[in-house]
Symmetry: C2
Subunit: 489 residues, 2 copies
């Protein structure tokens, strides 16, 4: 057995069954080792952004990590944007990066780079194996780290000679580091606050947005009247008919302020609501002034358990949790609009998974989908576009029996369209819908707002060029072409 074989066998022993890869020469011995570990499903992607986005989608749906296989620092670099998204989604993910042989690094060959430096901003755990014999134990530890609550990206760097040199054996799975239970004192304190008559919201995260966690949240809501909220881009939510309804925090700062304005106390699962971007003269921090903020459960704690305990604590109530009713839209006629597309998508059968990067079309899509059949929603949590298509690849591999829908803006789709190849090659049941408005539509909205603000503040350069024939006109026309007019999508 060589180091590469010990790696793959250890990953399989640790319940890692899928490896998304875009290997190169320094990873050839890992590729060759796949011959001897048939339990590992290897999925080739034609760009590393697809590799890491697919591993994120797999981890969100399967609740356990897939592995990646990336080619040195530059291969990792191409996958970083979707690792950023995975980090923001707290997805369990074992990120494996090949490197030059340990003795080759000193020569600074062209592909040599600071892999740890690239990996640090996205990784909660990083380690570089020092020898073939160490690879198995390192891999077991990488899986354990990735599975630690609430889930994270762990990066294991494997020099080429740790693959081809002989190794003693594979390792078994290490125990999971389970989420900490929330103490009964903390639950008592929360229950007291929930009965103080203030207008209260629970900002749900992680496992509180699906399954038993969501059900428990519904019981707390029924008993206390608290509003249930989730982040604009909550990484994994169960939506649609029969589910407990959760209000999604809107995108723009002024909308968030309006949305939260009557709230007097908020329980958070992780971070309080803030605006996605800063804008001149608008708030970043969107919690109403004077309102009370508490943690119910920290990110490493068991939020679903805390909600269940809280529901129990609040005693019996005759009210049962609210449920979303099924309300399918009419099939649309007339011209193709974002709303019309949403009305068609809303006909999707039960239990579908939406890998959603619908961008500006999401306003119409989410409202139309709200009362559609039950489904799982996986949005672009970290805001780095080009994730939806890879996410769909990973989701489809994690849940072979379920329909995957991928509604996607064309701007983001142009980033990682290589995912379509893997969908075809692996015969995945993914329906991709590209909103082809030939524009970064969100930037048209933002640029208009930016120019309007400058006009208001009297610092507007456009005003100078309002007369016909002004020398800036041509340049402005060119600069406007940069972010083209959006249609109704």
């Amino acid at each position: 057995m060589n180091g590469a074989q010990s790696l793959l066998q250890t990953l399989v022993n640790c319940d890692v069954e899928v490896c998304f890869g875009n290997p190169g020469t320094s990873e050839m011995h890992f590729v060759a080792a796949l011959d001897s570990v048939p339990q590992m499903r290897s999925v080739l992607c034609l760009f590393e952004g697809v590799v890491t986005g697919a591993a994120d989608g797999y981890g969100r749906v399967a609740g356990k990590p897939a592995a990646t296989l990336l080619h040195l620092g530059p291969g990792l670099a191409n996958g970083l944007a979707n690792l950023h998204n995975a980090r923001r989604a707290s997805t369990p993910l074992v990120n494996i990066v090949g490197d030059h042989a340990t003795y080759h690094l000193q020569y600074d060959a062209p592909l040599t780079s600071d892999i740890v430096g690239f990996a640090r901003p996205v990784s909660a755990w990083i380690h570089e194996s020092k020898s073939a014999d160490a690879v198995a134990a390192d891999a077991a530890r990488a899986v354990q780290a990735a599975r630690s609550a609430p889930g994270c990206v762990s990066t294991l760097i494997l020099p080429a000679d740790t693959a081809w040199n002989e190794a003693q054996r594979a390792e078994q799975k290490l125990p999971d580091l389970l989420p900490t239970p929330v103490s009964s004192a903390a639950v008592d304190a929360a229950a007291r606050l929930l009965s103080n008559g203030r207008k209260t919201a629970l900002l749900l995260r992680g496992a509180a947005l699906y399954g038993a966690g969501l059900e428990a949240a519904g019981r707390v809501q029924a008993k206390t009247g608290a509003r249930l909220l989730c982040d604009t881009f909550a990484p994994h939510a169960e939506l649609g008919a029969g589910r407990v309804p959760v209000e999604r925090i809107p995108y723009f700062a002024e909308q968030i302020v309006d949305f939260l304005k009557e709230i007097e106390q908020i329980f958070v699962g992780a971070k309080p609501p803030v605006s996605f971007f800063a804008y001149p003269g608008k708030p970043s921090w969107c919690v109403p002034e004077g309102s009370h903020l508490s943690y119910l459960a920290h990110a490493h704690q068991d939020g679903a358990q805390a909600l269940a305990a809280l529901a129990e604590h609040a005693g019996r109530s005759s009210r049962s949790p609210v449920r979303i009713p099924l309300q399918l839209p009419e099939l649309p006629g007339g011209p193709l609009t974002a709303l019309g597309v949403a009305q068609v998508i809303a006909m999707t059968p039960d239990n579908a998974i939406f890998a959603d990067e619908s961008a500006t079309a999401s306003f119409a899509l989410l409202s139309t989908m709200a009362r559609a059949r039950p489904h799982t929603h996986l949005p672009l949590t970290g805001g780095s576009i080009g994730q939806g298509l890879p996410l769909a690849v990973g989701a489809a591999l994690a849940a072979p029996g379920r329909k995957v829908i991928c509604p996607h803006g064309d701007g983001g789709a142009a980033y990682t369209m290589q995912a379509l190849w893997t969908m075809a090659r692996e015969k995945l049941d993914v329906t991709t819908v590209i909103y082809a408005n030939r524009s970064y539509a969100i930037l048209n909205i933002e640029l208009r707002a930016c120019r309007r603000d400058r006009q208001r503040s009297g610092r507007n350069v456009d005003a100078r060029s309002a007369q016909p024939g002004n020398e800036l006109d041509e340049n402005r026309r060119r600069s406007r072409r940069r972010v083209q007019p959006c249609d109704d999508m």
Copy 2:
């Protein structure tokens, strides 16, 4: 004037005329500021790998930096692989990355990340502007850093409020930090070594591979008989008829060893020759044992000046420099092969620029092009695939009157095909040739070698599965599909 306008005016004052961008919301004020600085040509790219690769191509051909405009950490992350290539090519490049407003960072909104961390492995200079008033001076310094010999990536991080807040003024260009001349004592010492009768090679880098530097190298060669060599992926070389011939170091370790075996002393411009990757049982360090290694000029020194001084020092000689003769191939007939494609490409008119990512097809291409009309050659210096198409974009913008040819493997082309959109939009004179062998052909070669090595060493897992019906067979077939059989390309 706001910070964004002071930035753009300063860049123009510093002779930065082109900005390749893929901006987002946090960069909208920079986009709006383009209205007021018409001297800056803004080129939209639909993926950041295209942005940074195009800036590399521009810098290599123009000999001065273009700017990028990237969207926070994830936007930078998508551009890192081609910044790695630019770093390896010592390309002058001003890499501008937008960030959240200074006061917004504390809230850790979804797109927040460690931008400095991402940038460090590829940047020789990094700075984050602290206020709108500081932006102009920071930008002037960033350009100065990028232009410092031999050229580098300088990264300037600009929080959104440094764009929209008021600034006092733009700044003027700072003096260039010129390359250090090589001392006459060093030239004397080199001249003595060159006359000691040993078999000598000059490994040329940077400006020694084009223009006056290459001419001077030719004169040294004529007078001393030293061989002239360049790296396998020398970033910028002038090739073809009429030029001084330079021998290119081959790719594989065993080829390099054979290529250098008679050399007794080597003068290097930067690093001694090493193999691109390590392989079990093969050398990484390819300099013949016992041979003498000297620097003629370090990377920050003026290698072209040193060669000119050396040519002068060696005294008069009746021999003039060798020149490459023009020898155009016959137009090919029969089936389409890598050689046939090369024979057609070799008909390209005078003074073309080759943005070359022909990968395994380069063996046929480079030998056929050797005696073609004079041209400039820009290869994939850092080894991170997906650079050729963006490089062609930048080269075409830097040299509008010259034909740009982009011979490209399909594996790498799938990485940054978004460049085709910018070529069309900017009406660039680029002819792209994709070698569509539907394979990572180099990996087929490497995987075959890797399996052969394991067979030889008796550790071969394939041997176990050679009998029909072996349970590994199906998995092996699947794993083989991953890197498909290559044809003659």
